[in-house]
């Protein structure tokens, strides 16, 4: 369910590292909780983002939710396809539904993120709390 090569946050974002650039998105759990996503608001290329700070939002039919950056750095690319096809977030949250690429300014943040196994455990607890 949760790919082992991703690092996860308790706010339900993920980051996949490729050198000093991290690809960022929301988790499968997040997209399921949100329901049908109809609108995505992303930062601009060149924007500086900080770990655990709001970097954008996604809107489902029902509600709007903040997206928190899992890492600090500079946005180098955004997933333009989400502007016309926000449903990619529902269909492929860990793949085609990626949101932004961030050049990491503080790689030391990475070990503080959750592994797939830890995230899965965390999500199971969240679900049991419902």
């Amino acid at each position: 369910m949760y790919p082992g090569d991703l690092h996860y946050t308790k706010q339900h974002e993920w980051v996949r590292l490729s050198g000093d650039v991290g690809v960022v998105g929301i988790t499968d759990y997040a997209q399921k909780e949100l329901g049908d996503i109809v609108y995505v608001d992303l930062p601009h290329v060149g924007a500086k983002v900080e770990q655990a700070k709001v970097m954008g939002s996604v809107e489902s039919v029902k509600a709007v939710s903040d997206i928190y950056s899992p890492v600090s750095g500079e946005v180098t690319e955004i997933n333009e396809a989400l502007a016309t096809a926000p449903e990619k977030l529902n269909e492929s949250p860990h793949g085609d539904g990626w949101m932004v690429k961030i050049r990491l300014s503080a790689p030391a943040e990475i070990p503080g993120l959750l592994s797939a196994a830890d995230y899965e455990k965390y999500v199971a607890e969240e679900e049991a709390g419902h």
Binding site: G35, S57, E59, A63, V64
Partner: protein
């Protein structure tokens, strides 16, 4: 997730929803399905085929007695005298000051028997309000526990339900009803709904709930019927421009402000709220409900502030994406002199004013 302070109420179909994998939410104290397969898919099913909703959280109040009609007329804004047995009517229950206690459906069963369908979270309040106004030879009964209410909505609702009843459904006109039999159980079958589509709302004893729910899904399978939740119910009624209590209407909003002057019959005789409404009609309303669509990027949602020329002027009562129209739409309150078609407004979305323009309602109207 925070724990609810009071235990949530459940309909007779609660375990069925759970078993079928519905996503459940707290809706005004009731644990109800928000969605089954997804709001967009369910919404599309109702617009193109059929959808089945459990709306048993809605309340039922029955008025019996020789003066049942007189009591119903005294507590509601619309004209009971215009109702024939077998006919239903949209109406308002008002306070003396003209604000809404609730919006309701009044069904006339007989001269001495009226059946009211009221909003879930208002049912106790409505009952107290009506019983408190009862100076007539009539009895008022909060009957919600005796009914399951299902809504079968969409262009194939009739074909679906017709398989389960001998009653000629095509002969039931819009806002009329028949007491018949559905899937072997006595049922009140009303051609009413809250989606902007053709369809039916049926009321029957809770012990038949799961069997009838399943029978309707089976009957509609060939047409693509889907079980639907309150999420789709809300997007459907928003497109149809229908009011939702707590949003477009509440205790400080009058029918004239909400664009519901057509349910107010000032000349019918005395009723609760009449004097205040007559005064407001004479002095003209100061604010009015109007539809809008976003022209800038963003979704105007419930309770967002509305600006006119950069200054606060009103609020969004309901807003969100329209799955059918593929636009972001909503309803908002504006000063009456600015509540005109084509008025440019801004919706404040997360501290940013975003352009929108007022447009006519309903946003969606079915073809026939």
């Amino acid at each position: 997730m925070t724990q609810p302070t009071a235990p949530l109420k459940a309909t007779a179909l609660h375990s069925t929803h759970r078993r079928m994998g519905a996503k459940m939410v707290d809706f005004g104290g009731w644990e109800m399905p928000l969605q089954y397969s997804g709001i967009l898919e369910e919404h599309a099913a109702v617009r193109s085929a059929a959808g089945l909703f459990d709306v048993s959280h809605m309340g039922e109040i029955e008025i019996h007695g020789p003066q049942a009609g007189a009591l119903a007329d005294y507590v509601t804004t619309n004209s009971i005298a215009k109702l024939q047995p077998g006919q239903a009517q949209y109406s308002g229950l008002l306070y003396d000051h003209g604000g809404f206690v609730d919006d309701i459906l009044v069904h006339k069963i007989a001269n001495d028997h009226y059946f009211l369908c009221v909003n879930a979270s208002n049912q106790e309040k409505d009952y107290q309000h009506i019983a408190g106004a009862n100076r007539f030879t009539a009895s008022v009964d909060l009957a919600s526990d005796r009914y399951t209410q299902l809504a079968i909505q969409g262009p194939r609702a009739l074909a679906t339900l017709q398989k389960l009843t001998a009653t000629d459904l095509a002969a039931i006109r819009y806002y009329h009803f028949v007491d018949g039999v559905a899937a072997g159980a006595p049922a009140r079958i009303a051609r009413t709904g809250y989606t902007g589509e053709d369809g039916f709302e049926i009321y029957f004893a809770p012990e038949h709930s799961e069997r009838i729910w399943n029978a309707i899904l089976d009957a509609g399978q060939q047409y693509g019927i889907k079980p639907c939740g309150l999420g789709a119910r809300n997007t459907l009624r928003l497109e149809a421009g229908m009011a939702l209590y707590g949003h477009e209407i509440h205790s400080t909003i009058t029918p004239f402000e909400a664009g519901l002057g057509w349910i107010v019959k000032l000349d019918k005789g005395e009723f609760i709220g009449r004097a205040a409404l007559a005064r407001q009609k004479e002095q003209r309303v100061t604010r009015k409900l109007i539809g809008f669509e976003m022209t800038g990027r963003g979704i105007g949602r419930d309770d967002y502030e509305v600006f006119l020329n950069g200054a606060p002027a009103g609020w969004v009562s309901s807003g969100g994406p329209s799955p059918t129209l593929k636009k972001n739409i909503g309803m908002c309150y504006l000063p009456a002199d600015r509540a005109k078609m084509g008025q440019r407004i801004q919706i404040v979305i997360r501290n940013q004013p975003v352009d929108a323009v007022t447009i006519p309602m309903p946003f969606y109207k079915r073809a026939n």
